[in-house]
Amino acid sequence: MKEKTEKVGRRRDFIKAMGVFGLSIGLGSLITKKVEAHENHFPMPIRSNSLVAIGSVPAHGFHPLNSASKSVNNPSPRVKAPYSQSPKVMNPMSFLTHFDLGKVIDSNGKRVREFTLSSYPSFIEVASKVSFPAWTFNGTVPGPTLRCVEGETIRIKFLNGDIHPHTIHFHGIHPANMDGVFEIIEPGKGYTYEFKAEPFGVFPYHCHTMPITKHIAKGLYGTLIIDPKEPRPKAKEMVMVMNGFDVDFDGENEFYTVNGIANYYMDYPIRIKLGELIRIYLVNMTEFDLINSFHLHANMFWWYPNGTSLTPSEYTDTVMLCQGQRGIMEFSYKYPGRFLFHAHQSEFAERGWIGMFEVFE
């Protein structure tokens, strides 16, 4: 009996305690309500010294107004694009204005321009810290820009240093066995492509081994420029190959670039002189996406489709190119300053296909 009353007593105490506990919480919440009301902000994680900037917040058109990162010294975290795809190879800045003129040799009384291309695998950096297991011509994606004059005989010595079979398929006019389609070059083997360079213009070259989507997406492509016999007017010349990188191999590109590194010319702007004639050889080698485009800011350019005519077809600021399509653009800047150029598909621009001209007087 005594035990029972004790139990009841304990139970009563518990109920009382619960009531007091609830009441205190209720009062507490009433008191704290006013204090907390304006502070609708999740408490920030503790900021240590080991704060590492990552990725690239856009360098233009964005200002983090109320962001808590204002409290950090750098208001706009931006990791610069890598300077080159790998330490040993050419960087996109030198690639831009580098034309491989080959070696002119005398072959049985015939003047021949000779180039060497080797295919081999390489890990390249396509965006800050992102490594891509590429298949390359001479170590870079895109491969070297070959340049010759209309009517010359060109000889391309190809060596396949990869563990997969490859070919080189050139656009332009040439015999069937020089088309790089049926003569598959096995690993460790070579082939010599030799043909008369015609007509003048700008042409892509790429591997044509099946599955061709894989061989192009992996990076086996480049540009061949055939100059007219009568050279074009003197200009500062550049080559821009538009492409994409599918870094997780799911059949869609994660990064879009010109000349192989996302956001490269945004972090390393191209410096050009005010009023100077600029000529850009533009090639679209983007895989997976049907089209790509080029848009020039605060200016207009003359457009020569395929570069096969000396008369421009259009005066525009935006041009759209299908896979494998290309052309030549010519322009000069009227005003000094910084001007963007990018794909006008905003999605591509925001995934790395954006750059900047810095026009100086």
Binding site: S29, E39, M44, S48, E350
Partner: protein, 192 residues
Amino acid sequence: MKRAISKENHKWLRIISSLIPLILLFLVVYLIATGFAIQAPTTTLPIERINIERIVLNPEELVVTLLNSGPNDVEVAQVLVNDAIWGGFIEPSNVIPRLGRAILTIPYPWVEGEPLTLTIITSNGFKFKKEIEAAILTPPFTFEQAYTYILIGVYVGIIPVFLGEGWFPFLRGISSRWFRFLLSFTAGMLIF
């Protein structure tokens, strides 16, 4: 006397026979653990896995908790918000050790009520995505909220027990058969 000895022997045999499988089991576990019995297949390919555990939405900012649940260290290389290259600050490091965590703070002008996709790309090109169906400000911690949760706990965990105890006088009156039925029914419900 002879019989008694054999009985004793029988007892020992039983103990030993019960121990033999246990000893063998320990032996097998030892062999597996030391890799003697089975050589685990190895691969040189990197396997990476990042769990995007939590995304807190602050004004003009996302705070993301990442967990490396893969077998190797992972280097976070790029951050995409709504499929655009974006960036932020990561701490303590952009290299997350196995089973380690990192906090990623991304300044981003997100739009209330609209979906938001966060993509993490590692240095080896692995991609991890998390989608928020409709972005809203993450509710802050308040005592009011805590009080609500405590009340829910009281309603769910305490009040039903009191109500059940009110049934006790009635239960004392019923036959033991029904009592056992109700008890087993309750146990079944609890297990379910």
